[in-house]
Symmetry: C2
Subunit: 400 residues, 2 copies
């Protein structure tokens, strides 16, 4: 940390933690902040949340909530004043504000230089390429000519991606011919094009890194997407070659170290016949790590707090041989007359008494991610089936 520990503790006392502990502020009030607050409680903390609205997922459950706009520097600076360290629920704070906060003397983890690679896909691709790390073939594109030239090299279809702002399948467009991209190219949105990689499956390597430089890796998981949105996570990735798993962990720890990440880093990976390729980075707790709440001795949320507080990191061993997480979405049951969420939760508790439920306090509109469930056991197929069935039920009677 940039100030003596005793001074940090003193600021903690001023900011209201009666035990004299430092205060962590998180920018953004989504479910990641909600679950980070839940972990913070054990550490004697009460997470300070900058939320856009009082109804935000974390704002519903945290005591110390400030309503503000994460794109306004004045709001960020006012929020930071009471915090020992600042961290993020999302990547949407402008880099220049993150830099200005650090220049004003605030401790911000991850720092702007690291956060950039989760914000800007072009910068991420350039940096990983420069480090010699495996990424899909890619190029920046500004015109149909750029796109055609690239596609003639790697073959159609190619994948166009917005350099900034993509999330959960948004900002990603598979394109089979240049005319499909005309409007996108004319929109002025900065884009990169990537080779569409033939993949066996998607994996994620989750690690954490402290300011001291300590690193810790969880077992590599398989992520299952539908329409570009993660629906299931299987830990550990079933049948993954141990050498490939070890190299994925090393790769993620290398990225965390080289990019100077402090906190949790999720590295989304493609497993291909030719080996691993890095798809995306997230410098925060990530959907691919929700299974760690029950499935690891240290959850990604506690570990993120340990890291940004510069505490030594916790043990990442699994608590069961097989863990499966499935996301819960608002579904067709929201239609009039269908059983409400409370009724469905009641049924879930009866049918799957060992499945752990996490609801985010979000109104269950169709397609909206409103929670997740986790199943633990010894048989990977069984826990996957249980998690999927329970999530499908909670989503609204769907059995996947």
């Amino acid at each position: 940390m940039s100030e003596p520990r005793s001074a940090a503790a003193e600021r903690g006392r001023e900011a209201g933690t009666s035990a004299g502990l430092p205060v962590v502020g998180i920018v953004g009030g989504g479910q990641l902040a909600r679950m980070t607050h839940q972990a913070a409680i054990s550490l004697g903390q009460s997470l300070r949340v900058l939320a856009a609205s009082p109804g935000d997922s974390a704002a519903q459950v945290a005591h110390d909530v400030v309503i503000g706009d994460h794109t306004r520097y004045a709001d960020l600076a006012g929020f930071a004043a009471g915090c020992t360290v600042l961290t993020f629920d999302h990547e949407h704070v402008p880099s220049e504000h993150v830099r200005a906060l650090a220049a004003a003397g605030h401790t911000v983890y991850p720092a702007a230089d690291a956060l950039l690679y989760a914000q800007d896909k072009r910068a991420m691709r350039e940096r990983l390429s420069a480090l010699g790390l495996p990424v899909p073939e890619w190029t920046p594109v500004g015109s149909a000519a750029d796109l055609t030239r690239f596609a003639e090299k790697v073959g159609w279809p190619v994948v166009l991606k917005a350099v900034r702002g993509g999330y959960d399948g948004r900002g990603v467009w598979p394109v089979s011919a240049p005319e499909q991209a005309v409007r996108l190219l004319e929109s002025g949105v900065p884009l990169i094009a990537e080779r569409r990689v033939p993949l066996r499956r998607e994996l994620a390597a989750l690690v954490a890194r402290s300011p001291y430089g300590q690193g810790a890796a969880w077992p590599v998981v398989q992520t299952v997407q539908r329409d570009g949105i993660c629906v299931e996570v299987l830990a550990p990735a079933p049948g993954l070659d141990p050498d490939l798993a070890a190299s994925a962990e090393r790769l993620a720890l290398t990225v965390a170290g080289e990019l100077g990440v402090v906190g949790v880093l999720a590295v989304e990976l493609f497993e291909t016949d030719a080996g691993l390729l890095v798809n995306e980075l997230a410098t925060r707790p990530h959907n691919s790590g929700h299974w760690t709440i029950e499935g690891s001795r240290t959850s990604q949320f506690e570990q993120h707090l340990r890291a940004v507080l510069d505490y030594p990191l916790g043990v990442t061993a699994m608590t069961a041989p097989a863990v499966a997480m499935a996301n819960v979405f608002g579904g067709p049951a929201e239609a009039a007359g269908a059983p409400g969420l409370d009724e469905r939760l009641h049924h879930l508790a009866a049918r799957w008494p060992a499945v752990k439920v996490h609801l985010y306090g979000k109104a269950p509109r169709p397609g909206r991610k409103i929670g997740h469930v986790t199943a633990l056991g010894t048989d990977p197929g069984r826990v996957r089936a249980d998690a999927a069935a329970a999530a499908g039920h909670l989503t609204g009677g769907q059995q996947r």
Copy 2:
């Protein structure tokens, strides 16, 4: 529940849960409420807390906090108005207020009739005796003559207990001669006397019961007291005869059923050469169940919420063969110049990276219970040593 589920959900919506779930209110803002809020977050809930002061343990971390006096009916009734169901962090709400809340149409779990047996040791002893359950020989005492008559029957010393208000060793007085009890007997405090039982050790049987009547028991644990205060809990109780363990679980489920408890019930037991005797009851989550947060698939806090919400109960299987919990107290390290709590937490994380810490947000005054730690593993001796050492360190450099 006393009203249709859809009406409950409607009140939940009015009270602000965006997902339309029922609202649980808890009377009391101590660490039990704090940890119950933490569990509530997963269920899509945000616990509503009636705290005596904004600095209370739970009030620091919950969003929906009402400051009020749990002995004033107006405060209780105002608090209850926004809640689907009311429950308790402690036993100190007057029975007549609990009855009045129920009469006014509020759902209160545990109900006054069940709560009474955690409030009033005489009523508890009478009821358990009437049910034929094993309790130490006892009698109400109002005078030195009563005391002498009882002691001549069971032998000195005997244990005097305040009928109401005892806690953590307070309200309990071992007495070896009638003259030692003169001032106590003259004080007018209602008392019972109990035979001082020669015990092998203390155990606790923790169960939960839903309004529907479903029961669930965790493995029986050993509790280790010092100066009448629980310092360690070992799960499962090491070397406990399986038949005795089974009978302790049955006994606790019987008590829960006969007394109509809804929620968690802790039955503190003496293990003697002649079998088990019931020492105390608590109709709420209890220090002897803190190990369940990481040590069981369903924690006592989640289970208490499931019970009072009339959800089916969760699985109580252990997550590891051996779990040990040790309480953390404010200690000598609070002296000037000694390392602060943040520094000690830093050291703990480095030395015991697998130990889980729970701090309650309380200023660490010497002797005050400020948190607990939990160790999980396969070797009961090792987890006990780790938990004790980590707690001793956090308490302030003491190694127990």
